[in-house]
């Protein structure tokens, strides 16, 4: 506690320590838990970006979106098509990434326009349908003209290359060996920082306040002179752009995309990240994303735990893993209904609701 108190008055010191911690984290993780956790960490960073993007739509603007994964898919396929042997293209990443994000943003507007009048659960089902439609198209656009290669997916996608340095291979820099997941960690971290920065700025901007106004009472917001149509579309577009961004990064990191990575369950998982962490609160969303990505992986070790406690493995850890994850979701929600780190505004609402 003393350390925290000491740091409270020194923002720059906190920032430096945090940065140092984040830079050194992959070394510690690799040394203690192994490279697989580095990979999990990478995915967690991707999901933080996705969750923050969805948070704009659901958390800020209050529009329940169950098809968010569609934008992730659009971004991923953009990268896959523009940098793989499939079309024989290999554009540099600073061309593809903005293109993918922009196209995803366009899809966001495309989804947003017909759904402007819809609310609550009706919106949820339409967005869900939209997500499925995108996935089905990706799965089927291998005939009559082969665009997406259908269920076979696209292989051998080019990794990110910065100044001739490929992040897809192990590299030696200043005598330190960096594995591919390690290099991607830094890239992803950079983008997460960017997304967090944008979100923070948005939160306290006119637009951010307009979103909250729409969430709380759309009619009142319109009466107050907010162009609800444009503001809602902007929320969809912003959210989708972040989705497209992480999709592109995902494709380059994994080197392979196929439609099965973008199913409804993925959308639901991203939604549970933000609800679990605390909707509308950036720190909450980050925490939620970390927990939902890491808990199922950590639960792979229940076999070792059973052996340590009982001396033998009673239930196959693979069978137990998702069961425990489900129980954890239920328990966390029952104990913290507003999320683990609820946003201030939400906390006030909750207090009012209870009276």
């Amino acid at each position: 506690m003393n350390v925290l108190d000491y740091l409270k008055g020194k923002a720059w010191l906190t920032a430096v320590l945090l940065l140092l911690g984040l830079v050194l984290l992959p070394f510690m993780v690799e040394a203690s838990l192994g490279k697989s956790w580095l990979r999990i960490l990478d995915f967690a960073l991707l999901y933080i970006m996705l969750a923050l993007g969805l948070n704009i739509v659901v958390g800020y603007a209050g529009l329940l979106d169950l098809g968010y994964v569609a934008f992730y898919a659009v971004g991923a396929y953009c990268w896959a098509l523009l940098a793989s042997p499939h079309f024989g293209l290999n554009l540099p990443f600073w061309v593809i990434l903005p293109t993918g994000a922009a196209i995803a943003g366009l899809f966001g507007v495309l989804l947003g326009t017909p759904t402007l009048r819809l609310r609550g659960d009706y919106l949820a089902i339409v967005t869900l349908g939209f997500g499925e439609i995108i996935r089905i198209f990706l799965n089927n656009l291998n005939a009559p003209v082969n665009i997406t290669n259908g269920p076979q997916g696209i292989t051998q996608i080019e990794p990110v290359t910065i100044a001739g340095l490929s992040l897809g291979k192990t590299q030696e820099i200043f005598g330190i060996t960096f594995s591919s997941p390690h290099l991607y960690y830094y890239l992803f971290l950079l983008f997460v920082a960017l997304v967090v920065f944008v979100c923070m700025r948005l939160e306290n901007s006119r637009i951010g306040r307009a979103w909250v106004a729409i969430r709380e009472d759309e009619m009142a917001a319109a009466a107050a002179g907010i162009n609800t149509r444009n503001i809602k579309l902007l929320a969809f577009a912003m959210g989708a752009t972040f989705g497209g961004l992480s999709g592109g990064l995902f494709a380059s990191f994994q080197g392979f995309v196929s439609p099965e990575s973008f199913n409804l369950m993925e959308s639901i998982m991203i939604l549970s990240m933000i609800v679990l962490g605390g909707m509308g609160n950036i720190y909450g969303v980050i925490l939620g994303a970390l927990l939902v990505t890491m808990i199922p992986e950590a639960l792979r070790y229940t076999g070792d735990l059973q052996r340590a406690v009982f001396g033998e493995v009673f239930i196959d850890p693979a069978d137990l893993r998702m069961l425990l994850f489900g129980i954890a979701l239920v328990l966390m929600m029952l104990l913290r209904p507003a999320g683990l780190l609820p946003s201030k505004l939400r906390r006030q609402e909750l207090a009012e609701d209870a009276t």
């Binding site: 209050g62 659960d121 089902i125 549970s272 069978d319 137990l320 489900g326 909750l350």
Partner: protein
């Protein structure tokens, strides 16, 4: 014409199952404005429990008439699912009744995962066969379309249940209490309605329907699996929204309509587009109609305009 009649029959049978499951969603939604995402899993549980009983009984007394064995399975599955529905509400939803709207959605997703994995641990990872020889295997021709005994039973049972449910909601004391709770829970409580009991009964009724639907599905398709609830629940939920969620007739209409749409979509997209698009676009077709309906009529086909909560 034969083909069209057949596609209609196909769609109606599929739609009946959707409708029965959709009723469960809509009942709960009508009262609590809550999407019970675990409802599909209740259907799965009904199917699995019934099959376990049927399998055991068939093993012990194979000479019993097939219908009796299936009925016994159903009679165990229904109360078991009722109990499950009741517990789901008590454990996962009641504590969150005043929580932010999306909180119960996440517990529901969590519960779905739990139920799936519990079923997997109990009944294994295999698909379980429904001994179809237990039921009559007859096939009839109606207007050039082929329909089986089991399918006729499904259609009839769905209609009977629908009428029973409408009567229950409109004519009985419990039904009145349900409607009152749906309109204004606080006022209903003041008027002496035991709101908690009403909500519990809603879950119990919905779960009983789910159990019946579960047995129907496995009887018609000859198999059950612990993962079968997810897609079925999703389709049924879409059907409920299409019809106007919260509205019983809407759920029925939405279910049947979705079933027919899927059948016609799968059957005719290929021919209509000259083979350019094929039956793999059947789900897109169904979703597009859904989106179109909701864009033109944002609260579903039979939904009331007043349901406008974010």
């Amino acid at each position: 014409m034969d083909i069209f009649a057949q596609q209609l029959v196909n769609g109606l049978v599929l739609g009946s199952v959707y409708a029965l499951v959709a009723l469960g969603y809509t009942l709960v939604y009508g009262i609590l404005e809550l999407i019970n995402f675990a409802h599909g899993e209740t259907t799965m549980m009904g199917s699995m429990i019934a099959l376990a009983v049927i399998g055991a009984l068939f093993g012990v007394a194979p000479d019993l008439p097939g219908i009796m064995i299936v009925l016994a399975g159903l009679l165990v599955a229904i109360p078991a699912c009722m109990l499950l529905g009741y517990s789901i509400e008590r454990v996962a939803y009641r504590p969150l009744r005043h929580a932010p709207r999306l909180a119960p959605l996440i517990t529901a997703i969590g519960l779905s995962i739990v139920l799936q994995n519990v079923a997997m641990l109990i009944w294994g990872k295999q698909y379980i066969a429904f001994p179809t020889t237990l039921l009559p295997q007859g096939r009839h021709n109606v207007f050039g379309a082929s329909i089986t005994d089991v399918q006729i039973a499904i259609l009839v049972l769905t209609v009977v249940i629908m009428f029973g449910l409408v009567t229950l909601v409109n004519r009985t004391r419990l039904g009145r209490a349900m409607r009152a709770t749906a309109q204004a829970p606080a006022v209903a409580q003041l008027m002496g309605v035991n709101v908690n009991a009403v909500i519990s009964s809603t879950f119990i009724i919905g779960s009983a329907l789910a159990a019946i639907a579960g047995v129907m599905v496995s009887a018609n398709y000859g198999q059950a699996h612990y993962y079968m609830g997810f897609l079925l629940g999703l389709k049924a939920f879409s059907a409920a929204v299409l019809g106007g969620i919260g509205n019983l007739a809407g759920a029925m209409l939405g279910g049947l309509l979705l079933g027919v749409l899927e059948a016609l979509g799968a059957g005719y997209i290929g021919d209509l587009t000259g083979g350019f698009l094929g039956s793999h676009y059947q789900d897109i077709f169904a979703f597009l109609v859904l989106i179109l309906v909701l864009t033109l009529k944002p609260s579903g086909l039979l939904g009331s305009r007043s349901v406008e909560r974010a």
